[in-house]
């Protein structure tokens, strides 16, 4: 029977199997408690007064009217911040509450706690702030020539790369400028959490976040509390995509809770959320590609300008990513690249899926298509002639020493059968969809290709280590790890890894908290499976080793006489065969602190250095139908070839890829935060459009499994890469259908329909 269980059990719940998410059913049924559902007895509601101006001097704040409103318990301003007045992920340059100056629309100025959300809202509306409006610097191209809008200056970072012969010239040269608008992460669960005072001067904060410990490191100093007086616990998190890297309501809720000595909950409304988190950096980019007549790349020149918005957040590292990945997954012997991120009076930019690479991927892939046309090759062939492979060097000089199946990804995407022609599609499947605008005679189909790659885990010498603890007691394995589950499926993979190593059925994931274990690092940069998954596997293996020693001791045999075999402790002669779950009377426990390999900074002049831990690659082919007169686009099919190392949960991997494709498609044709002089014009899901099921085509996915040595079961992180190449693939397909240049995303209907008019204008 034991053997039978082993055979059946493994495929059902271990790695490589598409097990169901433990939180899937409750989420679908509406029973999952998100951070916005938190509640406690005597709880008050917090709310934030925000600047209506992109740039203004605060002359006075009168909180008096708010204090007179019945039900209002506290009204706090910058004067009430108990500790460090500023915070930030990389440099503490952002005020908890603005004191003298507001630098973007939506910057927090005051906070209130009241007995009801409406009371809090009315209290906010009653606060009188006198502003002197200042000129807003909102054009990043003017930022460096403008007066400093922050004591740290308007330059956040310039990242140069000089590689090989900087004077090299190719016989074929193509040039282009490209622009990307502001993309929002558009998570559904708003910024929210609840702070609960502990009665001894400390506070517990239950919050939706990507990284509990990185939040903790910022929250405690701002509260003026010792680290152990502040504990952060992960609350149900409804998506993140980078937008929960930075603090939002964290310090505010804690300040209010400590002030009134009652639990305080804050939950942003949707319009507030659009200015309540960092967004993807909008970009202006110039590229010049040099190649041989055969289409082999000789040199890439690039000037990349990112708008960092009012505060630094992670902009310095985003700029570095834009520089390092500016050439795409190609062999490029010579390069002259400068990526610059500047400060403006737009809302802060920061992390978003693809982190600085989405921008340049759109540009370098547009360039590769230009190059293909210039040398007379098709888009697939130009890429195949230049793709990176394992053993090649990047423009940083670092050797790609992990599987790099770029060719395989592209060939997989290119070989997917084409979808049926538009003539086979019903009216609702044409561009314009439910609006039934299409005239079949005016539909053109186009096909486009793109490849992309990105680093896995943090770079440039940053040691984003992680910790996991495994405790095996009574056949139940309990995993403690502070990794944030955002919806990506870490909880599923963590259970699968534990079951696989220990052979147990029952796995409990302890709540993620700063109170129970050290940092797991952020759920960012495609790193949690790769990093914390590895730590869990190691902790489980140490527990298995403890089980082996316990069995050896009990049976009075040498430890070496026993083997750990698929969740069992087995002697060579098979006289001992005990499941690990029953190996020890005493609980077994192990905690692992796992570091990825050491990385190094970029040389400040040449950008050279072994900066990265690993890389992930993907390719997309997009097929679109375009209404030539109205400029409406229907993406008919996406084909994705995705480097995964090893798919630990294929269904989760497919979900990540489909989601990434959706976000990339959205950026290609609809997603943009529209601003005028720094003021957001469309802060709602009525007007910030993301793809619906009617916009999402079938995604035909091929997983390329080339396990990476040292990664957990060979798995790479797959959260980001399909989002890089899907945007340029869609734009390339629209170009193929229309013959237009399309040097800006998102491509708006008028960019197609009124292209001639716009050129004249």
């Amino acid at each position: 029977m034991a053997d039978g269980v082993r055979v059946v059990d493994r495929p059902r719940t271990g790695i490589g199997v598409s097990t169901r998410r433990p939180d899937g059913g409750p989420k679908v049924r509406g029973e999952f408690a998100y951070s916005s559902d938190l509640h406690a007895d005597r709880m008050l509601w917090g709310r934030t007064l925000r600047s209506p101006h992109a740039h203004a001097r605060i002359l006075s704040i009168d909180i008096g009217p708010a204090l007179t409103i019945p039900g209002v318990s506290a009204v706090l301003t910058a004067d009430d911040v108990p500790g460090r007045p500023t915070y930030g992920l990389t440099v503490p340059d952002q005020p908890v509450l603005a004191r003298d100056i507001v630098r973007y629309e939506g910057e927090p100025v005051a906070i209130v706690a009241a007995d009801h959300p409406d009371t809090a809202r009315r209290a906010i509306a009653s606060i009188v702030v006198e502003y002197e409006v200042l000129e807003a610097i909102t054009d990043p191209q003017r930022a460096l020539q403008s007066p400093a809008i922050h004591p740290d200056g308007n330059l956040i970072r310039t990242v140069p790369i000089r590689r090989g012969d900087v004077d090299a010239v190719g016989s074929v040269v193509v040039e282009g400028t490209y622009e990307m608008g502001i993309q929002d992460q558009a998570f559904l669960g708003p910024e929210s959490g609840m702070a609960v005072p502990d009665g001894a001067g400390g506070v517990d904060l239950y919050v939706a976040t990507q990284g509990l410990h990185q939040d903790h490191a910022q929250v405690a100093p701002c509260l003026g509390l010792a680290p152990e007086q502040v504990r952060l616990h992960l609350a149900g998190t409804g998506g993140a995509f980078g937008a929960r890297e930075d603090l939002s309501m964290h310090v505010h809720a804690c300040m209010l809770a400590l002030h009134v000595n009652r639990p305080v909950k804050m939950s942003y409304l949707r319009d507030e959320s659009f200015v309540g988190h960092v967004r993807r950096h909008p970009a202006h980019m110039w590229f010049r590609h040099h190649a041989t007549p055969e289409g082999r790349l000789v040199k890439v020149e690039a000037q990349i300008l990112l708008d960092g918005g009012a505060y630094a957040s992670t902009s310095a590292y985003t700029a570095a990513n834009s520089a390092r990945f500016a050439c795409g997954p190609y062999r490029v012997p010579n390069a002259v690249i400068d990526a610059t991120c500047v400060r403006t009076n737009n809302a802060p930019s920061g992390a978003m899926r693809g982190f600085g690479v989405v921008q340049v991927c759109y540009a370098h892939e547009s360039q590769m298509d230009k190059l293909a046309a210039a040398v007379g090759l098709d888009p697939v062939e130009i890429r195949l002639r230049n793709v990176l492979a394992r053993g090649d060097e990047l423009v940083t000089g670092q050797t790609v020493d992990v599987p790099a199946p770029v060719r395989e990804c592209l060939e997989a995407a290119a070989s997917v059968p084409m979808p049926p022609p538009a003539s086979d599609v019903d009216d609702y499947g044409l561009p314009g969809g439910a609006g039934r605008t299409a005239d079949r005679a005016r539909i053109r189909r186009g096909v486009g290709y793109a490849v992309g790659f990105k680093n896995l885990a943090y770079a440039e010498g940053y040691d984003d280590d992680t910790r996991a603890r495994c405790r095996l007691d009574g056949g139940v394995a309990t995993i403690t790890c502070a990794a944030a589950e955002l919806g990506q499926g870490f909880v599923t993979v963590a259970e699968q890894i534990t079951r696989t190593v220990l052979g147990v059925d029952q796995v409990v994931l302890a709540p993620a908290s700063t109170a129970t274990i050290g940092s797991a690092g952020s759920s960012a940069s495609s790193r949690q499976t790769y990093m914390s998954g590895a730590a869990i596997a190691m902790a489980c293996r140490q527990v298995a080793e403890g089980a082996r020693r316990a069995v050896a001791h009990r049976h009075a045999v040498a430890v070496e006489a026993l083997e750990i075999d698929e969740g069992r402790i087995v002697s060579r002669d098979l006289s001992i065969d005990i499941p690990i779950g029953r190996a020890s009377e005493e609980p077994l426990e192990a905690e692992v602190n796992h570091h990825h390999r050491e990385t190094f900074p970029m040389d400040p002049v040449t950008g050279q250095g072994d900066t990265d831990v690993s890389w992930v690659f993907a390719a997309n082919r997009a097929v679109v139908d375009v209404d030539l007169d109205l400029g409406l686009v229907r993406v008919v099919q996406m084909a994705t070839g995705q480097d995964v190392g090893k798919a630990l949960n294929p269904l989760s991997v497919v979900g990540q890829i489909e989601g990434a494709v959706s976000q990339g498609l959205g950026l290609a044709v609809m997603e943009e935060v529209v601003t005028t002089d720094g003021i957001v014009r469309n802060p709602s899901f009525t007007d910030y459009l993301i793809p619906t099921t009617a916009d999402m085509p079938p995604v035909e996915i091929t997983l390329i499994e080339e396990p990476e040595d040292g990664a957990p079961f060979g798995a790479k992180g797959v959260g980001e890469t399909a989002c890089l190449s899907s945007t340029p693939a869609v734009v390339a397909a629209i170009r193929a259908a229309t013959g237009l240049e399309l040097s800006r995303v998102p491509v708006r209907p008028e960019d197609i329909a009124l292209a001639d008019v716009r050129r004249e204008g």
Partner: protein
Amino acid sequence: MAADPRPQVLAGGTDFMVEVNYDHRRPTAVMSLRRVDELRGWRRHGDRLTVGAGLRYVDMLESEFEVSAPALAQAARTVGSPQIRNTGTIGGNVATASPAGDTLPVLYALDAEVTVSSTRGDRVVPIQELIVGPKRTTLAPDELIVSISIPVSKGPQEFLKIGVRNAMVIAVASVALVVDGDNRHIGCALGSVGPTIIRCSEAEAMAEAEIDWDRLHLPDPRVYETFGAMCAAASSPIDDHRSTSRYRRHGVYVLATRALMRAFEPGA
């Protein structure tokens, strides 16, 4: 409703509740019409349809209704998401009076008449007199929209709507075209390209004169684009975060041209 304070009327709530959520309205009393079954139905008598104000978008998609009012059904199909269509009503669309209200261009093109009721009695108002501006109507605070009367379809009807995604989107521009073959009349109205719905009377008259009404053909194919251009000229769009005035006007031109092409084949 004549009470003091007067309750605010809740039909589907798809606009109303958003305003409440954002504290743009603070109703002290709300009167829900959801269980007033008398407002829910529709009936045909002779060549007219009486549509209850509480008829939901999803109800308009039923085939029997669609046969009698195809453009209204098509407009209903483009409204929001299934959840919105399951609760939103035609009366609410009229009362909200947004220039982007999806059923409104159809109602204008059909010369719909709205029956409004209060304790003082009923009155029947042409839709273009009820709606006087963006989100502004001549409804008195104690008046309730009871029903809407439209003619039964007597020829081709089209509703086309441009949005930046393929479903669940506010109109950037829309065109309704209804043809009355018996009376040799065309009605055409535009959505989202002016402060209210815009009726294209000059374009209608031009096309009516060009159509071969016995065959429902259009002998001169140049008329399609002329019609589109006249509709575009009648529009009065603005630049906003959803689109530009230039694209909206162009969109009206394309949609109106296509609508007329669908309604009338070329040739003598």
